[in-house]
């Protein structure tokens, strides 16, 4: 029996799935990939980005990491491609493109 949320991947068998799909640890949103059903993804053009940080607070997940007052590149592990960041960017620095897997 596997118990970690990170073990609950699409290859897990019914014998290894936890009873009732229960998860026996906390803070599992950090370990579970929730960006895998995205169809569009945001791409950042660092040349155009002015680090105004309007995008970071509107992200509904944790896909725009901010360190020392500056945003970094997207964390696609969580990004669902909703496009809100691209919509609020005043400088056209974020482009939504089709996500090819």
């Amino acid at each position: 029996m596997k118990w970690k949320a990170s073990d609950m991947t699409p290859s897990v068998t019914w014998k290894d799935l936890t009873p009732g799909c229960n998860i026996f640890e906390g803070g599992t949103s950090e370990t579970v990939e929730t960006g895998d059903w995205r169809t569009m993804k945001p791409v950042l053009d660092m040349e155009k980005c002015k680090q105004c940080l309007l995008c970071a607070p509107v992200c509904p997940d944790m896909s725009i990491p901010v360190v020392d007052g500056k945003r970094g590149d997207f964390n696609y592990f969580f990004c669902k491609g909703c496009g809100i960041c691209a919509n609020v960017c005043p400088f056209g620095a974020i482009e939504m493109v089709k996500d090819e897997k």
Partner: protein, 392 residues
């Protein structure tokens, strides 16, 4: 030696609850199970149990209360009947798929309409696919005994369990009963110590997950396995209970089946009526027998097929109709069991009987055996979908 008493089926269930002293009861009253939470709330008020009694505004909430409490690591119980059970249906599925071993006492009653408060099995049968273990009692004694075994069974396979009896027929009729001493009950049922529970910050957990199509079928396959595993658990707990009380329990009970040529398959209190019919017919030299289903979920398919393989004719007795223009649920499952085992010799018919409290008399059952005798002699089954004791 146990304690001699005389109790109604509802009283017996409430008394078993008192002896077990569970942690939480969420309940809403509905005839004919109302007395169970009523008697039990008296025990709560008298301080005879430590149970947190939560009077809720509906059966949907009663089952939701049980789900929350059981997930928190408590033993949770409820009781209901008829439309109350129907109203719980959504949460019954959640309890089973969350793998929470809640115990629910059901005093079976017809579903409306026409509006009717009397006994049949249409309530319990309508939730037969919810994923609950389901034990049925013939007598008050069996209802009590099944309840004492319920938590051991449910907790062993992490599935919720329904302890069903016939509304009014056993729930309100007072019978002699032998109770087990308190300390023996406590030792037999034991403490509930789940490996994981919501309470306690040391081991955090999440209950009630969302499963995408990638996971849902694996979750259901695991649930199906728990139901299969429950067959052995029910037998094992039944044997242990027999060692303690002298009253043995299995998945099915066979009555006069060794040389039977005609047999009934039946659930609940009418098994007692059928046994009396058999005694009279046996005295006339008729080779008639009975299979009483105690465990409807899991369904004892192999055991029933094995017990029926040598009979000439059988009748499945359904106290419920599936309204499929074909047959009731017991007939469907018995026939599937026989077909899967490659047993094709016995001729089988289905009787829908006892709906909405229609009296089931010894003569009613003897009529069924007379029909089976004709089928056995002629080899002609005739109409397989029949109604018993209905005015033509």
């Amino acid at each position: 030696m146990g304690i001699r008493e005389r109790l109604s089926g509802n009283e017996a269930i409430a008394f078993a609850m008192k002896q077990i002293n569970p942690d939480v009861m969420g309940a809403f009253p509905i005839t004919p199970s109302t007395e169970i939470p009523q008697y039990f709330s008296t025990y709560v008020d008298n301080g005879q149990v430590d149970t947190e009694f939560i009077p809720v505004e509906s059966e949907h909430s009663a089952m939701s209360t049980c789900i929350g409490a059981q997930a928190a690591g408590c033993r949770a119980i409820s009781a209901t009947s008829s439309c109350g059970l129907s109203y719980m249906t959504e949460m019954l599925y959640v309890a089973a798929s969350d793998r929470l071993p809640i115990t629910l006492a059901v005093s079976c009653r017809a579903l409306s309409g026409p509006i009717n408060i009397n006994n049949d099995h249409s309530d319990a049968m309508s939730v037969r696919d919810a994923g609950w273990l389901m034990l049925f009692a013939e007598t008050n004694q069996e209802a009590y005994d099944n309840y004492l075994q319920a938590m051991r069974i449910g907790e062993a396979v992490s599935l919720p369990i329904m302890i069903c009896q016939d509304g009014f027929i056993t729930s309100h009729a007072i019978e002699n009963i032998e109770l087990v001493e308190d300390e023996k009950v406590k030792a037999f049922v034991g403490e509930y110590k789940p490996e994981h529970a919501l309470l306690g910050k040391e081991n955090p957990m999440a209950v009630g997950a969302y499963a995408t199509p990638v996971y849902y079928m694996e979750a259901k396959r695991a649930q199906a396995q728990a139901m299969m595993d429950a067959k052995d658990v029910i037998k094992k707990v039944g044997a242990e209970f027999a060692a303690m009380t002298g009253r043995s329990y299995d998945l099915i009970e066979k009555y006069e089946m060794d040389d039977a040529e005609e047999a009934l398959i039946i659930i609940g209190s009418s098994a007692g009526t059928a046994k009396e019919a058999i005694r009279e017919l046996r005295a006339q030299g008729k080779k008639v027998g009975l299979i009483k289903i105690r465990s409807f979920r899991p369904f004892p398919a192999d055991e029933i097929a094995e017990a029926l393989k040598n009979v000439k004719a059988f009748a499945a007795m359904d106290k419920d109709d599936s309204f499929n223009a074909h047959c009731g649920p017991i007939y469907a499952e018995v026939c599937a069991a026989l077909y899967a085992k490659g047993i094709f010799a016995p001729k089988g018919i289905d009787y829908i009987y006892g709906l909405g409290g229609r009296d089931v008399r010894v003569e009613s059952i003897q009529h069924v055996y007379a029909e089976l005798e004709k089928i056995a002699a002629s080899g002609e089954t005739g109409e397989t979908y029949r109604y018993l004791d209905v005015r033509e």
